[in-house]
Amino acid sequence: MNRTHVTCMINDDETEFLCDNDESLLDALRDEVGLTGAKEGCGTGDCGACSIILNGQLICACLAFAPEANGGTIETVEGMADGDRLHPLQTSFLEEASLQCGVCTPGFLMAAKALLENNPDPTETEVRYAIAGNLCRCTGYDKIVRAVLGAAAQMRKNPIEGARP
């Protein structure tokens, strides 16, 4: 099968990769680009472990075809930290012990990031709705909700330098 050449921006880096047309964007990120932060949980859009931001929209990478990314912009968990400096959401997840096995964490971080970019001051209910598409079998969600609310408060006090609007 002829492979398709895809050019896109991934975490602010211009990236090129070859993929099969029936390959999911998740598989392409993991296997062609080497970004293994996004995880495959269910592969059917139920668990959110593969959550990424494509062209500004939070999506399940397992439900998108890799060629759809051509010319687009992708954000993954690998782009959250600024060098050694963690994103406030990542710091907050560590402080609140919001993960155990960690498989769901990249997806939760992306969903939380998408939420806070649109709504910097969410209520607890809004946080719970925003992460409804992400499943965690370890924490029982409370610690994740606390981490998102804590990071939101932190980010309102100290906006991230150079953060994308």
């Binding site: 047309n21 859009g45 999506i59 399940c60 998108a64 759809e68 598409g133 992400n134």
Partner: protein, 289 residues
């Protein structure tokens, strides 16, 4: 499999005609799991999201036009749509998670043709029409003529849905949608119910449309319930008739989400509640949008 992203309806039509084993898609939120479940892979995948006409909501000349591939996350928050069709906004906002809503579309929800599709009852009570494109041009048919059974539609293999057209509702008219699931988020309807009512100045119902989802092979209208409402005030007596008629119109299956008997009962309860909700909105809304 080839992947193409046409930029116009005409381009998509000729691509669809060029390859018999082709498939159009928008969000692929149903298509990908179906392919994983054994649906044969098409030879040509036509991504409709690159066609500007298919990914916008516009409002002009008293008509709302929603592109078939517009993500429901946009449909549910569009101000004009919410004001005129709050029930359609509600049903759009009940589909899956944010991740799913950023991909899923009205065209996909309709053409996947699930009996439990949330937006179909809302589209039906608003008498929505669909514009369908093929090499012969376009034709416009009622949404209610599209789905023929679970997973099957009346569209020919060389046709696809371009957009939905909804006429602005008359004054004192409003819709509502309610869905029963055993949790608050992220589930598929046990039963769904949509209603749209028009009230006169004395709060008497002059027009009523009621549709029930997930309780028959396709979404069904409840004409007996509609007749019970037309010409009558919304009182206990009419609501009892609505409940009985909504339950009677169902031909549900028993599955893990509920038994036939349970679904019939819930259909009646939801129909009553959704009629009350639509009536409340119609009273609050007053004049035409």
């Amino acid at each position: 499999m080839r992947y193409v992203r046409p930029g116009t309806v005409d381009e998509a039509v000729s691509l669809l005609n060029s390859e018999p084993e082709s498939c159009v898609f928008a969000g692929a939120t149903d298509l990908v799991p179906q392919m994983q479940g054994g649906r044969p892979e098409p030879k040509l995948m036509i991504d409709l999201k690159g066609i500007p006409r298919l990914v916008k909501v516009s409002y002009s000349n008293g008509q709302l036009v929603v592109g078939a591939a517009t993500p429901v996350s946009i449909v549910k928050v569009d101000d004009n749509l919410k004001a005129a069709f709050p029930g359609l906004s509600e049903s759009s906002g009940l589909i899956g998670s944010d991740q799913i809503q950023n991909r899923a579309s009205l065209g996909g929800n309709l053409c996947t043709a699930s009996p439990g599709a949330d937006t179909i009852p809302s589209l039906m009570v608003n008498s929505a029409r669909v514009v369908i494109a093929s090499s012969g041009g376009t034709r416009t048919i009622p949404v209610s003529d599209v789905v023929t059974g679970p997973g099957s539609v009346s569209l020919k293999s060389n046709e696809f849905v371009v957009e939905f057209i909804l006429d602005a509702p008359p004054k004192r008219t409003a819709d509502a949608y309610l869905r029963f699931i055993p949790r608050t988020e992220m589930d598929i309807a046990v039963v769904g119910a949509a209603a749209r009512l028009t009230l006169d100045d004395a709060d008497c119902c002059t027009e009523a449309l009621v549709a029930i989802g997930a309780a028959a092979p396709t979404v069904v209208r409840a004409p007996v319930a509609e007749n019970a409402l037309r010409g009558n005030p919304i009182n206990d007596e009419t609501l009892a008739e609505v409940m009985a008629a909504a339950s009677a119109v169902c031909s549900p299956i028993s599955d893990k989400r509920g038994t036939k008997e349970y679904r019939r009962q819930v259909a009646g309860v939801l129909a009553k509640r959704v009629v009350l909700q639509a009536a409340k909105r119609a009273k609050e809304k007053g004049g035409a949008v």
